[in-house]
């Protein structure tokens, strides 16, 4: 079974996306594990020759949505703005932490789109298919996610810092 081999090869990418999506390592790995198990159970629905990665991310998306629904964890409110500390100095580690937090504050729908586009570097068509949404929705969620992230990270990025630090 070459699918088995490719599944194994794709684990690091699934973990990376899951980690950014759920914001915490062990629950990210739980999500990956559920995804892999479900993928095996549904492998007969996978069309050979098509993109296994996209299919896996679809499976993961569905597993994730079901889990979120089951635990009734809610998205942050659209209006909610972060109270991120404004720092004059920072290291890369702090930037990563702040970015991770800012991503976690995005509404889940927008977060998924942003991560598939930036992290997985999927085409907009692939994202639309993976999440089962129209491409127009992909574009609007991407736009909103980016603008929120930019607003949250303003003052955190080195080039913006020069302007903000007095």
């Amino acid at each position: 079974m070459d699918e088995a081999k490719r599944l194994v090869e794709l684990i690091p990418r699934l973990r990376r996306y899951a980690r950014a999506l759920v914001g915490e390592r062990s629950s990210a790995d739980d999500l990956v594990q559920d995804t892999l198990e479900r993928a095996w159970a549904k492998l007969h629905l996978y069309r050979r020759g098509t993109d296994l990665r996209a299919w896996l991310f679809t499976v993961m998306h569905n597993v994730h949505v079901n889990r979120v629904r089951a635990t009734r964890s809610s998205d942050p409110l659209e209006e909610e703005m972060p109270e991120l500390a404004q720092r004059g100095t920072q290291s890369d580690a702090l930037l990563v932490r702040d970015l991770d937090r800012a991503i976690a504050r995005l509404p889940a729908d927008q977060r998924a789109v942003l991560l598939l586009v930036t992290l997985e570097e999927m085409s907009y068509e692939e994202v639309a298919r993976t999440l089962g949404i129209p491409i127009g929705t992909v574009m609007s969620r991407l736009s909103r996610a980016r603008e929120k992230l930019r607003a949250m990270m303003l003052g955190q990025s080195p080039s913006a810092k020069l302007k903000l630090v007095k």
Binding site: L99, G132, S143
Partner: protein, 257 residues
Amino acid sequence: MNELPVSEADLQAYADGRLPEERRSAVEAWLAARPEEAERVTAYRRLAHEVRAAYETMLSDPVPARLARAASPRPQWRRMAVAAGWVVLGIAIGAPAGWHVRPERTVTQLVPDNAVIARRAAIAHATYSPEVRHPVEVGADDEQHLIAWLSKRVGVKLRAPKLEEAGMSLVGGRLLPGDNGPVAQFMYQSQNGRRLTLYVRTEASRNRETAFRYARENNVGVFYWIDREVGYALASADLSKDELLRLANLVYKKLEP
């Protein structure tokens, strides 16, 4: 030349480097006249880069054993098969909504087609397993010849799995006429004379894969499945469904490349 107005989607695509060549210069000209928008797009690019950098370590992080296990087929197959013979239909109903599966690949449509293999295997089992003097055409004592001959006629490289650990030894095999060409039948027998046949044929439509399914034709129980271009059906009138399932799992395992 008339240029289309630059949309927000254009800007996103431009930030991602996904804008078609012919559109790029229009967007660049538009941005050149709007420094604030240009800065916004630059920020998006920088953020994308930072997001990738932030999670890059996950790609080289050692994969936990539990995930490596979850990615290997065997336990899932077994668990799935043990869960129920009819398990597949239930799974098919829960198909991911966002993924478009071609109609001909859905399990519900596969059933009538696949049920044919179960019926053929059951008939072949019922025909030859009661034979005392001529249960097979070529005996297991000439296994090499048996395999080479059947492989050549069926058109795929066949193997007769060893089932000694389940108390079944190979009696031999025979060639049968099938819907898509010649079919191979291997016969096994336990010490107390219970018989099992493995019916192997090539599948007309390739690249399919199914989980185990169970069917019963008169007294003959059949577990059948498709693995790529080969369809298998394991039949017996002498074994319980559970015993047959255990053997189907064993056969499947032994046939793994």
